[in-house]
Symmetry: C2
Amino acid sequence: MRAFVTGGAGFVGSTLADRLLADGHEVTAYDNFSTGQRSFVQRALGNPRYRLIEGDLLDEQRLRRDLRGHDLVFHLAANADIKDGLKHPRKDLEHNTIATFHVLEAMRGVGTSRIAFSSTGSVYGEPAVFPTPETCPFPVQTSLYAASKLAGEALLSAYAAGYGISAWIFRFVSILGERYTHGHVFDFYKQLRKDPKRLRVLGDGRQRKSYLYVQDCIDAVLHAVSTTGPGLHVFNLGTDEYVTVEQSIGLITGFLGVKPELSYTGGERGWVGDSPFIFLDTRKIRATGWAPKLTIAQSVERTIAWLVQNPDLLERRD
Amino acid sequence: MRAFVTGGAGFVGSTLADRLLADGHEVTAYDNFSTGQRSFVQRALGNPRYRLIEGDLLDEQRLRRDLRGHDLVFHLAANADIKDGLKHPRKDLEHNTIATFHVLEAMRGVGTSRIAFSSTGSVYGEPAVFPTPETCPFPVQTSLYAASKLAGEALLSAYAAGYGISAWIFRFVSILGERYTHGHVFDFYKQLRKDPKRLRVLGDGRQRKSYLYVQDCIDAVLHAVSTTGPGLHVFNLGTDEYVTVEQSIGLITGFLGVKPELSYTGGERGWVGDSPFIFLDTRKIRATGWAPKLTIAQSVERTIAWLVQNPDLLERRD
């Protein structure tokens, strides 16, 4: 396979690129390095089957030129800064919705007919059904990020219906593991590294969240793409458990051996658009034969272990 | 009220503007005249409470300047050419999704906090539940038009959650009545006017469709906006009946007194993205006290009567 990975220098994208190379595929990683990391692509750069392109998905002509000859697009590039979406609403529109349109148009232009897309469990807004299945009641969006991802999903399905592409939409819970660079485990660790005696928590700490280990996520994506037929597919990705924010703080502080004093900003939601409860029904992807290997607790520990070993990354993102 | 009507020279927009003027409001109609008609705004232009601006929603700076001082936006402007969406996919993205983003950003910029939005029953794709309620299972999009409208809905709801605007999303069935300028009743009449002996039908004629009379539609929009409180509201708009394409042909040919030979292109769908069955559950809007006054048959007859009296319009759109 000749794979084209957008966001190929990011957390999930670079990990996926490494896996595809290990599996013997050719990989083009496409990244504008707005949040991608040079260090994440170092190993891959030594592989003759790997090519890194520093490009922006908003540059449609270049994208189209570079996409030619690829079989499958893993479209992982996105503005993933959910919490601060309201500070710059244009960012989600451009980097998520419009960029996804450019990817689809480039595919149509050069005849690439398969795409896997990282959507989000946030598209369910604040659902009434838990665990939330792919077919839950038509949801209402609560964040610009989720709105832009839903717009991306809608484009993929309309292109599948109208132009005959095959599309795999994956609604991710939060992903953890090596190369993890943003999200609340990151924020907590960064705070504790500065001052192990204090930890400020957004919300009341009782928000219930789901996580998936990055290698389990990649297993699921590759498994679905290789075992399901052409057409449109929508899969939730997650484990069959969830933890409260307080519980994940317990995991982090236990692993680090610190006992900070906790202060809470209060409220059911950590920020506008934060979901008090994310727990996805993953029976559909499990029915294809996939299952996660790590628990949430194991994922959190691996993530913290990796952050401890990579202090540079925390400094750079201050 | 100082109302700002996008698509104010179009079918529904110009009719709404006339109604708002009759009700004593101030109205600014905004239209790029891509499909809007000069003749539709003639009467309003004589009213001192009316202002017409020839402007494009893609010109964000101008929009923001012109929106200042308005209380409520009726955002009806759209590329409504569903059938030919696949010929120019950028059009739905720009004129529906991006234009809606510009409207919302302009509102945020000038402090206009209320918006009513014409979405579509097509966002339900090909649902499994009939009549289809607002809370039906999370649908899959089958047309670029519906995908772009869903993206618009998602933006409205995220702006409601994030910036506190109030938003009314109306999922329309096909609207009929005076000033109707596109859709299958229009296409059938145009064919029959040229040659009353032959009629070519897209699909097998058994598609089941729903329609609503334009004045009933406007009643519903104004009723919902004035009787429901702040926040986000989603309403289906339609009647509690549907007709097959064959039945509406019967209504049209009966009214015109012609007996054409019918030929069918075949298939359940008239085109890619055509929905074989549209029938919305309207209990939610009815619970607010609204009810349609005209049946589908009456709406079709009024539409044909109007088209017969306005041959210029058919010529211009040939």
